[in-house]
């Protein structure tokens, strides 16, 4: 299980991905990232919006 949550709850994702998350109503801090070092990508957010990715990450 890919654990991407970082100290201080910081999520690493570029601005365009953050905006997409807001548009799709996805809480980006609960999306696990598949990008380099666990960076959250556009694909991760879209997957989460379809109900795939968001739950895969355990509570912290």
């Amino acid at each position: 299980e890919d654990e991407t949550e970082t100290p201080a709850g910081r999520t690493f994702a570029p601005p365009n991905v953050r905006r997409l998350a807001r548009e799709l109503g996805v809480d980006i801090s609960s999306v696990s990232g598949s990008g380099p070092s666990g960076r959250v990508t556009e694909g991760d957010v879209r997957e989460a919006a379809e109900g795939g990715n968001e739950e895969t990450k355990g509570p912290k």
Binding site: T6, P7, A8, P15, R18, R22, S37, R39, V40
Partner: protein, 474 residues
């Protein structure tokens, strides 16, 4: 309705045309909202008229003269004279060009411009009092309001601004002649920037600071090259001294300071410039009419959409809290306008950069090493001194360094601190890296032009990874 009291309606009422307000208004116009911008004084606000722009203009002009006058090492012999009137005229020209530009851009984007002082007059109504006799007032109905009333300089007891002996940065930026001597109260960025300007003009400058460090808020090793540079310019910096009083002497004034222990010192000077901070402006707004109240620091509290506690009222810029910097206000202005227009915008940036335009400059963005630790990261830190930079050597400015802070495990860039030539520009790349979630390796893998100062950013990233080429790795 009587003449002089016309009523209009608007989707968005923006109060204050500084960087926060004019950006909000222009963006709202672009989004096809009907927008009205009220300004009581001058387009561009503090920043364009009495802050960022005039200060940077004077910093450049005095810098050009000082640089050439101190370049014997490069084989340059010059003895530049600065004509204060000419310099101020040039500075005013720059300001006029920019404020005129803001006005034009507002109009081009369909913003209705109204001159006057706005105050709230109910939940969806404001009243604008026009300046001058008999100019009456105007009532404006609005759907949304964006408050962008900015800030003003803090006064300290006993040092009320009189524009003559006791001046704020505003008057200091428009002096007609070079003062022989100047005491600056406050070693924050405004005080230090102006200390440099006046020292280069030949003024005998003393900076007194209550705290025991200059440029508080910036790491010690960032402040040090600036303080050293000031001392090289002949500026005397007195820490741990609070300005307590002043009095007229024969041909000038004497400023008294007091230490924590009650020790007093007197400084004779021509003028005293008080630059101890700025406070938000809300007292002109009649906030009760809309049901708002400033917090204990005088700011209007906002959420991540720049919205206040009142659903249809937003606040942006200095009035909405720290950091009181123009670019933070611009971002808030943009977001507020977009939120009003129904877009999914938010203030979800990772970092607000800051710069100090002294010599050397300081530029910072994101976390310091200590802040990263505090946030639970295990930081990897890399540094590159400018004295090892080819470009810095060719410019003759080698003080300072670039530092980059990252999360050791993931490599994500968390922050950067730069002191040195063009620090205010170089910090932009680190800012982008932070927003993008870039890693040290990403920065290190990016080819940087040789010979440039930006190579020092690259090199600092390499250093954090343990394989810098142009400096030894720690």
């Amino acid at each position: 309705m009587v003449v002089g009291d016309i009523a209009t309606g608007t989707d968005v009422l923006v109060i204050g045309a500084g960087p926060g307000g004019y950006v909000a208004a222009i963006r709202a116009g672009q989004l096809d909202l009907d927008v009205t911008l009220v300004e009581k004084d001058a387009y561009g606000g503090t920043c364009l008229n009495h802050g960022c722009i005039p200060s940077k203009a004077l910093i450049t002009a005095t810098g050009v003269a000082h640089e050439a006058g101190n370049a014997e090492a490069m084989g340059i012999h010059a003895d530049p004279a600065i004509d204060m009137g000419g310099m101020m005229e040039w500075k005013d020209g720059v300001v006029d060009q920019l404020t005129g530009g803001v006005e034009k851009l507002c109009k081009a984007n369909g913003v209705n411009l109204v001159e006057g002082i706005a105050e709230f007059d109910g939940e969806n109504r404001a009243r604008v009092a026009h300046g001058g006799d008999g100019q009456g007032s105007e009532s404006i109905e609005f759907e949304h309001a964006i408050v962008a009333t900015g800030s003003r300089p803090v006064e300290i007891p006993g040092f009320e601004f009189d524009g003559e002996r006791v001046v704020s940065s505003r008057e200091a930026l428009s002096l007609e002649s070079v003062p022989d001597s100047l005491v600056i109260v406050g070693a924050g960025y405004i005080g230090m920037e102006l200390a440099g300007v006046f020292a280069k003009l030949g003024t005998d400058v003393t900076v007194v600071e209550m705290l025991d460090e200059a440029l508080v808020g910036f790491a010690d090793d960032l402040a040090k090259p600036v303080v050293d540079g000031m001392e090289d310019l002949g500026v005397e910096i007195r820490l741990g001294e609070a300005a307590s009083d002043w009095e007229e002497t024969g041909d000038g004034i004497s400023v008294t300071t007091e230490t924590d222990e009650g020790e007093e010192t007197n400084y004779d000077c021509e003028k005293v410039l008080v630059a101890v901070g700025r406070q938000p402006v809300t007292d002109t707004l009649n906030l009760e009419a809309i049901g708002l109240e400033p917090d204990e620091n005088g700011f209007l509290q906002t959420d991540d959409r720049a919205r206040t506690d009142v659903e249809n009222v937003f606040a942006v810029g200095d009035v909405a809290g720290e950091p009181m910097l123009a670019h933070k206000g611009m971002k808030e202005g943009q977001v507020a306008a977009e939120v009003v227009a129904g877009e999914a915008s938010a203030l979800d940036y990772q970092a607000v950069p800051a710069a100090v335009f002294t010599e050397p400059e300081i530029g910072t963005v994101g976390m310091t090493e200590a802040e990263a630790e505090e946030a639970g990261f295990e930081p990897a830190v890399g540094q590159m001194p400018f004295r090892a930079s080819g470009r810095a050597l060719t410019t003759g400015h080698t003080d300072g360094f670039v530092r980059i802070v990252a999360d050791a495990e993931s490599g994500f860039v968390l922050g950067g601190q730069i002191v040195g030539p063009e620090a205010s520009e170089l910090i932009a790349e680190i800012g982008l890296a932070i927003e993008l979630g870039a890693t040290l390796e990403d920065v290190a893998a990016t080819i940087h032009t040789h010979p440039t100062l930006s190579e020092a950013v690259h090199e600092a990233a390499e250093n954090a990874l343990g394989h810098a080429i142009h400096t030894l790795n720690r």
